[in-house]
């Protein structure tokens, strides 16, 4: 078995509403000087092999129209 971590994030240029919401809350919490906040997600998994991880990302874990992904085999 291998362990892998998949990082999925909104494509550059697409408005990330979640990131924007986090960013706009920061000043009220006393965090200044922080910008360009983007929120993605991490999927951790174990697999018999890494062979089909790309296909898994293309078909399910990410939507290639709106998201980029990176696979890290640990």
């Amino acid at each position: 078995m291998i362990s892998a971590r998949v990082l999925i994030r909104p494509k550059e240029g697409i408005l990330d509403a979640q990131g924007k919401a986090v960013e706009s809350a920061l000043p009220a919490l006393g965090f200044g000087g922080i910008e360009h906040v983007r929120v993605g997600r991490i999927v951790e998994l174990n697999a018999e092999s890494a062979d089909r991880l790309d296909e898994l990302c293309e078909k399910l874990l990410a939507n290639p129209l709106i998201e980029d992904y990176e696979i890290e085999v640990l």
Partner: protein, 221 residues
């Protein structure tokens, strides 16, 4: 006409969809997510809700339900398929419709009555309406911002695949080109974010939603 109304774990607007079809003079049958036999079904509705909890990404998991395989075959043969709200998201994730739906620009869930303008698309669902006509139906979603990459958007516009646009000044979510609904290239598959199935009873004022549900039967007849 018999409509098959899909039901996933987490669907919640399937009864309203059935009610709308029945008020439009048709019969309905609920189709559980693992059914693959669509014999006797004349049209499919993929209803709103939160299929599979909307985990991972809205509509992402429902695309793999066995019933969706049958719906793809049904659509390929030209059968009418209507996806509403979560159903629209599912059809986009399945690749039956172009584009994707993102979190509303304002991040909030919205729920209010609004106006849609009928666009130029040709579809059995639009057979009772004309381009430019305005219908009033509920907007009710949090992930309704229509997005397509520039080349895809250009193609959708050039092919007249936009079915509905939000009326001027009423785009509630930041959708590109005010797009509220699109059709596939053949026009038999349609998806839209607003809810025609919630606008079918004079008690709730507008009955404009009925026009969509009556459309395919008119074409059939």
């Amino acid at each position: 006409m018999i409509w098959g109304v899909l039901q996933f774990p987490g669907s919640c607007d399937e009864r309203d969809a059935q009610n709308a079809c029945e008020r439009a003079g048709a019969e309905t049958r609920l189709i559980w997510q693992d059914e693959t036999d669509l014999s006797g079904i004349d049209g499919i509705i993929v209803p709103g809700g939160f299929s599979y909890g909307d985990y991972l990404r809205v509509g992402a998991i429902a695309q793999f339900a066995p019933a969706m395989g049958a719906v793809a075959e049904f659509a390929a043969k030209g059968g009418p398929v209507l996806g509403i709200c979560n159903g629209f998201q599912v059809l986009c994730e399945s690749g039956l419709l172009p584009g994707a739906l993102l979190t509303n620009e304002g991040t909030r869930f919205i729920s209010r009555q609004g106006d849609l303008v009928v666009a130029e698309a040709e579809s059995p669902f639009l057979s009772e309406m004309s381009p430019g006509e305005v219908i009033s139906i509920p907007f009710k979603h949090q992930t309704g911002r229509y997005f397509a990459p520039p080349e895809m958007l250009e193609r959708i516009e050039a092919n007249n695949q936009v079915a509905f646009r939000y009326a001027e000044g009423q785009n509630p979510n930041g959708s590109l080109n005010d797009i509220a609904g699109v059709v596939n290239e053949a026009g038999n598959v349609m998806g839209l974010m607003p809810h025609p199935e919630h606008a079918v009873d004079p008690l709730t004022d507008s009955t404009d939603g009925l026009k969509l549900f009556r459309g395919p039967a008119r074409v059939e007849a």
